[in-house]
Symmetry: C2
Subunit: 374 residues, 2 copies
Amino acid sequence: MFRFEILHRSSRSRARVGRIHTPHGIIDTPNFVAVGTNGTLKGLDNTMVDSIGLQLMFCNTYHLLLQPGVEVVKKAGGLHQFINRKMPIITDSGGFQVFSLAYGSVASELKSCGVKKQDGHVLKVTEDGVLFRSYRDGKFVLLTPESSIQAQKALGADIIIPFDELPPYHIGAEKLKNAFERTHRWEKRSLEEHLKNRNNQAIYAVIHGGVDLDLRKESAERLKELPFDGYAIGGSLGKTKPEMVGMLTELMPHLPLEQPNHLLGIGDLESLSRCVPLGIDTFDSSYPTRAARHGLLLIQQGGMKVTRAENADRLNPIEPECTCWTCRHFTVAYLHHLFKAGELTAYTLATIHNLHFMVELMRRYRESILRGEV
Amino acid sequence: MFRFEILHRSSRSRARVGRIHTPHGIIDTPNFVAVGTNGTLKGLDNTMVDSIGLQLMFCNTYHLLLQPGVEVVKKAGGLHQFINRKMPIITDSGGFQVFSLAYGSVASELKSCGVKKQDGHVLKVTEDGVLFRSYRDGKFVLLTPESSIQAQKALGADIIIPFDELPPYHIGAEKLKNAFERTHRWEKRSLEEHLKNRNNQAIYAVIHGGVDLDLRKESAERLKELPFDGYAIGGSLGKTKPEMVGMLTELMPHLPLEQPNHLLGIGDLESLSRCVPLGIDTFDSSYPTRAARHGLLLIQQGGMKVTRAENADRLNPIEPECTCWTCRHFTVAYLHHLFKAGELTAYTLATIHNLHFMVELMRRYRESILRGEV
């Protein structure tokens, strides 16, 4: 059922326009993937998310494993049924969160200022997997390549991700190499577990190697040998956007042209504009939804801080041509008021707009590529 | 344009079924009025509130006066336009909040355990009105009968309320009598201000007198002499439900039969069942929406605490026959999960259900009265 179809390749860059076919419908690429960690985008219900046309939603296995737990999702018939989403879902392996907890927050880890602040949670990392304590109830949880894949089978996402190790940024070369070797052994074990029961799901490899280009290339070469359905790029790509772009520019030619790829955890507006020409197909990020909750509304000119005084009496929609629910029904002045008054409705309406903006932005990227402009 | 039509009177009680006609449509009575203090029900947008069929929404002039301010609402063409609500709105005068701030929280004041904890906010109460400081920006605001009515004219609610004084519970008889006299002078001034420019709005008097039945009766008799369009019952009616019911049982025969009445700030399920037979037409309360945000879902059997462990795998709607958006799309298990995960979406979905429940409950009350059962 899973199939990637390339409709057009740019002659000016590595950008391409494609379609990922999944059991829950098509994902037009390049596309943006919103993050619904707990099976919901913060402030929206999933019928609204479907109606906005967000074609792929990212859910976190780590969180869902601990709450509500896999059993109830399985009993519901899978994550789509449990959360009432009709369109495709991608889940990660849980590895990223487990290791982030061990080495500090996700953000600080990626910005390479991680400190081992919560290492009490991760009790043991062995060849088998990771033993950690649930942040919810303190219970021991053993996450292995096999158990991660089994959890993702039970969740039933359209695209799943092998269990990997996210090494901390500041470790020595030998330890890094050890982590690198182990993550590839874990990915292989994940794939083998997956192949026992494909369950109509696709599995993307995760390319590792941190900021070491040689390791990144080696990771790509090794993973290409295995029958993965697509390639995700994980871990730190550097401290700055130019470093990230430099790394991806070198790395992308080593990925198979005919398979879809995904950039994990990066999807701000500037990164999109830099990475679409590099041939990235999908991007997940909580940027637009988090920005919305902070009152930053995405507009063609960049962003509008809705709480600024000048917006108090702007009795127009956020963008005059925008067709989102929020712009069709409410004004900037009303949103300004809701944010000032601390009303929950503010977060919902802002999130609807920002998500719609991303859907439209990616549609425009695809059109630009088709027109030969990217 | 404003008109009250009585369709049926119970022969068993004072209950009646009626219709309040307003410029923004009909309010079937008896009915429940949800509180959208800042021009929104917490967690919902007003198109959803309209679609649930909530026929009257209560907004607070005090809050709207301070944020967003009357000018921007006026510029938008009124509160209906500003918040995008198609159906009727009632606003209060601001008096209740100003005095609540002076004497303690609204809840503690009504439960008569008020302490003068924030009296720095109210600077001066004179015959003219109340001078207070904005909790938002510290600016001085003078609220008088005239300025309250002018603000309510600018907001443009279908039903408005005269500026009144809410005396603290524990004051001597003389002070109480003074406050009582003044509140009636203020109501008269409010009415006079209103009559200068009806603006297609109706004005309800507020019957005062606290827990003193003689004062309550006197208040009703005096206000009946004036051309108000309806009668609201304000202030404390006692410390317990039986006291409240006792007071209303005595008081209601003193209200004009042919005009609509409203019970201010009371709308929990038990009070509704006790007060509908006493002939109350409309009730405002934040109970169902606040309960929703605390995970208490209203059901025919009373209430379901959604976060209880037994609801973790209840893969059914809250109520099998419920036709609300939440019940049509999501299960109790999913709501349980959203609450456990602290997701904003939980508050929205629970509020939709509880509000729909209230709309249906009041419809059933009207049917019961029509069938002669109440």
